[in-house]
Amino acid sequence: MTAAVAVAIFGAAASIAIAAAAIGSASAQGKAAAAAMDATWRQPEAANDVRTSMMLALVFMEALTLFVFALIFVLNGTVAGAAR
């Protein structure tokens, strides 16, 4: 297998991995944001508390996609090194 093919396969795999992680994070964040908006609408005086806890929840979901992103960069170096 030539280096170019290896890099191409890695690129395709990385795109799919990021996309899969993003789908999960996005749907979870959407649910959390929707629930927070519901709560704010029902009880506008609690808006600040809801916003704070929503932010905290969103951060942890977002981190999962970013872990995949970081992992791809680590693997990127390995693949580029092996392909040379």
């Binding site: 690129g11 600040n48 905290l56 977002e62 970081a70 960069f73 990127n76 580029a80």
Partner: protein, 241 residues
């Protein structure tokens, strides 16, 4: 050459050593000089803003500093309580301002291309250092305020201790890892998106992700401070069962 490889090579530590401090043999990179710039700026703001303090601020610089401190104080007060917010305000405000200015330094013209100017927070070494400070502070304040009962939650039902001790230790170690990776991945990700768009459409289109970077830079500085505040306050407060 794909943008991913270019970005990864540009981010490599050894590629942009500006000079080496003799004696201790410490290489100084563009990220380090940018951090020095950020520090100088913050020192200057703090110095100018706190000269000839007045009870009712008549100078804009004092009003600006009071605005920043008051805003952070009232926000942290709602999250971890007034007393703890007052106690931890110096370190939390430093984190917030340093990360905010570091994130925004990546938006300056020429950042990443000019020698000596590069966004420090898109470098894992920098954020890992910040998260290491948080890790040390959490352990220090937890043990200082609560003694070794800080570790008591790992032994709560004693028969589960063989399971809970490794889990508790992993949790302690994963926190700084996630904290640093969240910041660096966001900042580096933004940089990579701008770079990729720059290669596809050199004019106008990269403005959109750069504008988003203004929002993300503030949000990430805020998130880092927020999580640090929560970690510190849960470390010093007794667990309520």
């Amino acid at each position: 050459m794909n943008p991913l490889f270019l970005a990864a090579e540009g981010a490599a530590e050894h590629s942009d050593i500006i000079f080496v401090i003799p004696g201790i043999n410490l290489p100084v990179t563009s990220a380090v000089t940018t951090m020095w710039g950020v520090m100088l700026l913050l020192f200057a703001i703090a110095f100018i803003g706190t000269r000839h303090l007045q009870i009712v601020p008549r100078r804009r610089s004092q009003a600006l500093v009071e605005f920043i401190v008051d805003g952070l104080m009232s926000f942290l007060g709602t999250v971890i309580g007034k007393k703890r917010a007052r106690q931890f305000l110096p370190i939390l405000a430093s984190f917030f301002l340093f990360i905010l200015f570091s994130n925004y330094s990546g938006l300056l013209p020429g950042a990443g291309h000019v020698r000596g100017l590069r966004q420090p927070t898109s470098n894992w070494g920098v954020t890992a250092g910040l998260a290491g400070i948080v890790f040390t502070l959490v352990l220090f304040y937890g043990i200082k305020e609560r003694g070794f009962s800080y570790f008591a939650h790992m032994f709560q039902p004693i028969y589960l201790a063989p399971l809970l001790v490794p889990l508790g230790l992993i949790e302690e170690l994963v926190r700084p890892f996630a904290l640093s990776l969240r910041l660096v991945a966001n900042m580096f990700g933004g940089e990579t998106v701008v770079l990729a768009l720059l290669m596809a459409v050199p004019y106008f289109l990269p403005i959109i992700p750069m504008a988003l970077e203004i929002i993300f830079g503030a949000i990430q500085a805020f998130i880092f401070t927020f999580l640090t505040a929560i970690y510190l306050s849960t470390a010093v407060e007794e667990a309520h069962h």
